[in-house]
């Protein structure tokens, strides 16, 4: 029988508060926030709720579906409310909102984008809003779809990496190894890396042993958002200029 666990989070057992899907999803998120996805398991969720694993299964279907629901919960308030004068601001705001959400639930980051199941969310409001925004920018037809993918890809891409998960436990040895390997860069072979070593250590992709939780890349993200918006703007302008395709290779 499931022992009266110290991990217990939700539900006062004896009450008439029965097990249900929402409770399971909330408990899962709480566990992931606290312990990370590496050590997340359906069995731990069951322990936290003081029921048998099979009771959880009755409600969730399977592990992937549960994780998909967690993602849906986390991203529930992603879509910005309408009404910014410039479409550029709306897109930038979307990226910022996404990052702020992930900052509150960094351990969820690895779930989004890398598994197709997380599409279970299917927030049509988000899709519609992005399309609306990009139509306003002047995109239509295939270009509109492409621009949509650019926005979504940019939104998730940078932040996912910034908050990439740190190895669970044996992390100490690995951190030391990383720090040393970085510090020991050959200044003759890689002069620019050596020159910027202090500014890049733990503040640049590949040269980190901590993630965005303890070492956020604020400035890098700001430039990423600026660049993406400026880039989309430039392409939109080029397309308006002539009714054709831009200098880049097309579909």
């Amino acid at each position: 029988m499931p022992a009266a666990s110290k991990l217990r989070i939700g539900r006062p057992k004896a009450a008439e508060n029965r097990l249900n899907r929402a409770l399971i999803v909330e408990t899962s998120l709480a566990l992931i926030d606290r312990e990370g996805i590496e050590s997340f398991s359906v069995r731990n969720v069951a322990r936290a709720l003081d029921v048998f694993p099979t009771a959880v299964y009755w409600h969730i279907g399977d592990r992937n579906t549960l994780l998909s629901d967690v993602v849906t919960l986390v991203l529930a308030d992603l879509t910005p409310t309408r009404a910014t004068a410039r479409w550029q601001d709306w897109i930038r705001q979307l990226l910022v909102r996404y990052r702020n959400i992930i900052r509150q639930h960094p351990n969820v980051a690895p779930l989004i984008g890398v598994q197709l199941v997380s599409n279970g969310s299917l927030d049509f409001r988000l899709v519609e809003s992005i399309l609306e925004c990009l139509s306003q920018a002047g995109f239509k037809g295939q270009d509109l779809i492409d621009a949509y993918n650019v926005v979504m890809g940019g939104m998730v891409g940078f932040t996912t990496q910034e908050f990439a998960s740190v190895p669970a436990d044996g992390t100490e040895g690995w951190k030391k190894t990383m720090r040393r390997a970085i510090a020991a860069v050959d200044a003759k072979a890689y002069p620019r890396v050596a020159a910027h070593l202090a500014a890049m250590s733990n503040k640049a992709f590949l040269l980190r042993w901590e993630n965005g939780v303890s070492a956020p890349l604020d400035a890098g993200f700001a430039m990423f958002a600026d660049a993406l918006v400026a880039g989309i703007e430039a392409l939109a302008k080029a397309k308006r200029g002539r009714a054709k395709r831009p200098p880049g290779r097309g579909s």
Copy 2:
């Protein structure tokens, strides 16, 4: 004893061909390519090599380190050879090369970027080349580091999502559910989604049940690369114009 497995891949056992790290890493990659990371395990690697799991452990340290080595192997030839006249072309080429590599090993995609251990690679040549390129573009100091992060974030971000892993087995029911949910969009509430439904089904993030392997986002990726490069170019130009920061928020 490890049965003479049908999964057997490498090493003719009786030969003097002993177990070693490189062989283990190659075998792991072959298994991941064939079966996906979802069903990857150290024990399967051992079976494929016809040894006990503990023999593998003697060489690799632990599972995460092994996966990090797999990533290193896959990305070995990522960095483009020097010598493109325009820095813009070099950056675009880098993104294209990254995507081509992932197309050859799509199941590895989820490993890159989402786990900090994969930084074990530490290819200074890549870092140095990007810095060189962006210096040529006119970035310096903190801006140079930020621009570096923009490039790395963009390189990995889009493609990782395009090749997000599809659920392993029970995939049939999930696919049907997705297809129906998408097809059943409310045209009054989401007119633009409804209008572009055919063009977006399986060709736009969130509205997919297949990944880049069977439904590549070629045009979307092309625009993403164009937008990112154009955006970086615009920021560089703005910075050259005045010795200050661009309109976007800085730090």
